[in-house]
């Protein structure tokens, strides 16, 4: 069947398009972009129409950093529930991190994730395999075999690769297979025991702090290793001004580095933790306002390439506890677009740049289909009303966990349709 998305404003940064167009989808692919005034109309009887009046029609969002807890922690999230959350948030593709139980450090787990995803709603799920066995930072995984099984990148996310020699080996080896290495940058000696950003708030709350240097020293090391090896790296969840400066410096030296920032680090600061709000406990921690602005500036100028949610579901058992015993992480798939649209409203970012950072760029970094509405591309599309507001109700989100600091927030951006491969996987 054909699908016609009619009357919307099409934004496709990959083609430099931002104008009213109708989008015709046929056989799961983008068939054509039609001028609204055009007389050339498909025969209407065989076409399902989506009325996109007042809406943005864009390439489906791609989240290159999520944690779906299957296998091992299915009570927090399954691939199925994660995919439902993704679709509801406008995401057509997600890349899921390897810190499952067992860890995705072998092809059996990679294949299992792909198989589970095929049973879900159709959102594309790409496994990221561990960079080291058991994510222990000691020995590289069988990278070639993981690639063959379907892994799209490597990461020990949650842990740094402490041993620089191992990190070098992983980078060199992975680059032979065109596997990006996603690096969680945290010097675990410097952050040890830390609960929140080190600064006035940590002093007030009497909680051990995590200094910016814990992130920046590891970012610096990894950039230097990337330059030395020539291998592409991707810096996960950048949170400090110093990290942005370091990445800017490296890019000026043509180091093959890309980076991401999360909607929560772009929106909240350490002050949100006051009152010991465990929903704001995350790794890296929420930083100062100065850091937030620097990361946002980096996102706007392209130093930070992509927005990624770091969607990290945790059940109440791990969040409604003493602050120092609470787990790190926040869910993000269903609030990401809204939070980013708030920044657009505040004039911090324009819409085409936002779409680029949330779709085109992650597709390019990870080598995935999607990220563009060019003719003959897979029809992965999101249709949303950027003006309409909705109120976040943590308990009503599709994710199996409810750990969000944004409960009760009013956010712009209601998803009208999420389309994967020409099929509507979510409609609102």
């Amino acid at each position: 069947m054909k699908l016609l998305i009619k009357g919307g404003r099409v934004i496709d940064p990959a083609q430099g398009i931002d104008k009213p167009l109708d989008v015709l989808i046929e056989k799961g692919r983008i068939a054509s972009l039609i001028q609204p005034a055009s007389r050339v109309r498909p025969a209407m009887d065989k076409v399902k129409t989506i009325d996109a009046t007042g809406c943005i029609v864009a390439p489906g969002l791609i989240d290159m950093h999520v944690h779906f807890r299957e296998p091992g922690f299915e009570h927090k999230e399954t691939i199925e529930s994660g995919c439902a959350a993704a679709a509801a948030g406008g995401f057509t593709s997600v890349c899921c991190m390897a810190n499952t139980n067992p860890v995705n450090d072998n092809q059996a787990i990679t294949l299992m994730i792909i198989a589970q995803a095929q049973k879900a709603n159709g959102v594309r799920v790409y496994p990221i395999a561990a960079a080291t066995v058991g994510q222990n930072g000691e020995a590289a995984t069988e990278i070639g075999e993981l690639k063959t099984a379907g892994a799209v990148a490597l990461s020990d996310d949650g842990n740094e690769i402490r041993n620089s020699q191992v990190a070098r080996l992983v980078l060199e080896y992975a680059s032979m297979f065109d596997m990006p290495v996603i690096l969680h940058c945290e010097d675990m000696y410097l952050s040890q025991g830390g609960q929140v950003n080190e600064g006035f708030v940590s002093t007030e709350l009497g909680l051990p702090g995590i200094p910016n240097a814990a992130e920046e020293s590891m970012v610096a090391r990894n950039l230097i290793l990337a330059e030395m090896t020539g291998a592409p790296i991707h810096i996960a969840h950048v949170s400090t001004a110093g990290s942005v400066d370091l990445i800017r410096w490296a890019k000026a030296r043509d180091v093959r580095v890309t980076a991401e920032a999360t909607p929560h680090h772009l929106t909240l600061t350490e002050k949100a933790v006051r009152g010991y709000n465990t929903q704001c406990k995350m790794s890296p921690p929420l930083r100062s306002e100065q850091d937030r602005i620097a990361v946002l500036t980096g996102l706007a100028d392209g130093t930070i390439d992509a927005v990624a949610t770091d969607h990290a579901p945790h059940d109440d058992r791990l969040k409604i506890v003493e602050f120092d015993k609470a787990a790190n992480g926040v869910i993000g798939l269903e609030t990401a677009l809204g939070l980013m649209l708030r920044l657009v409203r505040q004039g911090q970012l324009d819409l085409p740049t936002l779409i680029q950072r949330m779709s085109t760029a992650p597709a390019r970094i990870m080598g995935l289909p999607g990220g563009s509405l060019a003719v003959d591309q897979p029809a992965d599309v999101v249709v949303f009303d950027p003006e309409q507001e909705w109120t976040v109700d943590a308990m009503c989100l599709r994710s199996r966990s409810h750990n969000t600091p944004f409960d009760g927030w009013s956010l712009p951006g209601v998803i009208k349709a999420t389309i994967v491969n020409g099929r509507i996987v979510h409609s609102g």
């Binding site: 080190e198 600064g199 006035f200 940590s202 002093t203 007030e204 709350l205 009497g206 909680l207 051990p208 702090g209 009152g275 010991y276 058992r317 409604i320 506890v321 003493e322 602050f323 120092d324 015993k325």
Partner: protein, 312 residues
Amino acid sequence: MRLNRKDLLGLEDIAVDEIKLILDTADSFKEFGSRIIKKVPALRGKTVVNLFYEPSTRTRTSFEIAGKRLSADVVNFSASQSSVGKGETLIDTMKNIEAMQPDLIVVRHGSAGAPHMLARMVECGVINAGDGAHEHPSQALLDMLMIRDVKGRINGLTVAIIGDISHSRVARSNIYGLTRMGARVRVCGPKTMIPAQIERMGVEVFHDVRKAISGVDVIMMLRIQLERQAGALLPSLREYARHFGLTPEIIKAAKPDATILHPGPINRGVEISSEVADCQRSMILNQVTNGVAVRMALLYLLTGGAGDETAD
């Protein structure tokens, strides 16, 4: 008379009038300790639960005596005899205790913020008896009562707090309380024990004890936690004692009438030498006496006192 608040979680948000009310009430309770019958019926029929997740004989006993002198029923609940060891969460424990309908819960917990979480979850009042490295308001109030006893005032005094400021809940509560009451506060310790941006709390930072105590009216020594700090934050305890310990020689730098306080228990020869701890200017034991009076005041004011006195 009562405090216009449900809980006392810290001194961060306390008003001058509230501090004065607490200290004045404590003053009026002080004399009960010297009576033959040390009991008044003010809290008859009220239940106070002492919920201690960390062992603390001093603070727990002090709250217990305070409650009993006011005729409250005091129930001690310590983590060792509770189901915490069986994996029960703080919230579960709390719900159980709340079902017993206490009027006040006094909680000591190793995690900063735990009393705040409880206060949000329960209807009855919560007193923070020390939470991690965050606050210990009743200790700071008794320190302030002590200072007021000895010096006649707090406003205009200079107080030096010396030791591991980073991990000290006593220091934080005293900084809030003393600065609110108009004292100038200095903190002093090795750089590894001074938390980030503490000057934003309105204190001056020193790393030299001699300079820190010069001209001050009150010296408040903090307990060095032998098990934690040796190794992690200090080259050695010996090194600490030599550079930050309060000795008869060092103390010459202070005013001759400077008062010495310590929340106890003291490590003789580490943060304070025996000579100094036992000298006339040391108020370490008087602090303990004042502790009961301050805690009586808190229990009284937070429960609204006796039924017939709550009309206002």
